[in-house]
Amino acid sequence: METIIENELVRELANKHGRTRESLIPILQDLVVQYRFLSKKDMVDVARELDISAADVFGTATFYTFLDTEVRGKYIIRICKTISCAMKGKNEILSTIEDILKIKLGETSSDRKFSLLEANCIGWCHKAPAMLINDTPYTELTPEKVTEILREYIKIQ
């Protein structure tokens, strides 16, 4: 018999949100809060805890942009690339961030502190260009402003 190693966080989250299908997304969202992405193992453990197939968990997770199934950094930067932000200098912000963090769009820094991604409209068009770092929005960005913001994040150990 295969030995099942207890995944305490998954169990805890299932206790918190419940074990029905509608609990699946809140559980996955909380795992992402904890690890910034969903590992294969965690998805299998969630499937077992909710008594649904692992394929269902994977299929659901991969539908949603914010339920990442690839390794991500502690701080996920999502720059809005939709029209207003694109018109107001999003590319300049992007290259400023690439220069500071020494990573390209889509990459995660080797210390797994930052991931740099693009997002579709995040709802700050009147204060473009905008980005999210994890859940926090930053708006009316300029190269100077974004440099200042990143400096603060870099300081955090």
Binding site: R21, Y64, F66, K81, T82, S84, M87, G123, C125, H126
Partner: protein, 386 residues
């Protein structure tokens, strides 16, 4: 009198005592509530414009011990950001609107489906929700609301995809009918309304349908919150009386060099300067969920169109072929024309494809890609080709 039709209104963000409205509606017959909303001629403010009172009446007529009220706060249309502001400024009014709907149709449970991008609003919403539930307790009402978060999928703003998502599944739209009032969330009769719509129902119950109807036109009663962005010195959120022309809007918000206004976001219509005068912003002209983007003469409409198509290609759920493949082909197609790999006649083929998508796609996403595509290609053909 050039701005006679651009009239500021302050209903949505007006700070009111919600408990007074709740106290009033609790004593009302459910049908009288539906009737009042029907008489106001309020149409859904999310973009589709379905008469709210009719939706509520359909929901009220369903025989079911379980019914749901869902607030659609999955505001994802490019250029729309007013729901975020409403939830930030007057969250209590949104919950109050849900309670009115609940009373009207006989529901005991409600959900707010908030887009993941607005997660930062959660602490404030929870605080306000606790207050709301205390008020419900005082009035001996058992209606309860929970907040659910999206995870970055535009399609979940489509009502049936939103239900799928709350149910813990991929956000893939369902076939209609059945409509939500018959079979919505968990297969139960469900009233789903946009954030702004719910707040208007509060104001209609407070001031009466006739007061609301004093504003707007026959086809577009009342006012609407607009999200204004792009080439404008006045970007932001404005509640305006419905019925103005694009020209009047541009006179108020333009930078003096406006060549086009995209009304209704990426899934809406592009109005070129020559049509500003004749085009009314509202259900009799170009409808909008609130997104108003202004473009001046320095902007390439090819870039605008390309940006929208890139958006739809990524956000199509992929479930039905016309939308999944159609979005990709429209994007590849305009790129090929721009590069000169295809001649300009090819654009006509692409317009036909967009029309096919309108007829054959399963949900509003695929059905409305052709709106922006057709109106941009038709009016700015040279910019797409050269």
């Amino acid at each position: 009198m050039k701005d006679k039709h651009v009239k500021r209104v302050d209903l949505i963000f007006e700070k009111i005592e919600c408990r007074d409205v709740l106290e009033k509606i609790i004593d009302m017959e459910p049908d009288a509530i539906c009737q009042e909303i029907l008489e106001s001629d309020l149409k859904g403010r999310g973009g589709a414009g379905f008469p709210t009172g009719m939706k509520w009446r359909f929901g009220s007529q369903e025989e079911s011990s379980i019914k749901y009220i869902v607030c659609n706060a999955d505001e994802g249309e490019p250029g729309t950001f007013k729901d975020r502001e409403i939830l930030d400024q007057v969250p209590g009014k949104v919950f109050c609107g849900m309670a009115i709907a609940a009373r009207a149709v006989g529901a005991k449970a409600g959900y707010v489906y908030l887009r993941g991008e607005y997660k930062f609003l959660i602490p404030k919403l929870n605080e306000e929700l606790a207050k709301f539930h205390r008020t419900m307790d005082e009035f001996n009402q058992n209606f309860r609301i929970q907040v659910r978060l999206g995870s970055g999928a535009y399609i979940c703003g489509e009502e049936s995809a939103l239900f799928e998502s709350i149910e813990g599944k991929r956000g893939e739209p369902r076939n209609k009918p059945p409509y939500p009032t018959t079979s919505g969330l968990f297969g139960k009769p469900t009233i789903i309304n946009n954030v702004e719509t719910l707040v208007y129902t509060v104001m209609i119950m407070k001031y009466g349908a006739s007061h609301f109807k004093e504003l707007g036109t026959k086809d577009s009663r009342g006012s609407k919150v607009f999200s204004v962005s792009g080439d404008t010195p006045k970007a932001g959120i404005f509640e305006l009386e419905l019925g103005m022309s694009v020209n009047e809007f541009v006179e108020e918000f333009g930078d003096g060099d406006t060549k086009a206004v995209q009304v209704g976001g990426a899934s809406g219509f592009c109005v070129p300067r020559k049509r500003f005068e004749e085009t009314i912003i509202g259900f009799e002209g170009v409808p909008t969920g609130g997104s108003m983007k202004l473009f001046n003469s320095t902007r390439s409409m090819y870039n605008v169109l390309h940006n929208y198509l890139d958006f739809f290609t990524e956000e199509s759920c992929g479930q039905c072929t016309p939308c999944r493949v159609g979005c990709q082909q429209l994007l590849k197609g305009v790129e090929a024309v721009k590069r000169g790999d295809k001649n300009s006649k090819y654009l006509d083929e692409l317009v036909k494809l967009a029309k096919t998508m309108k007829r054959a796609s399963k949900c509003g996403l695929g059905q409305s890609v052709g709106n922006a595509f057709g109106s941009i290609v038709e009016n700015f053909k040279e910019e797409i080709i050269y």
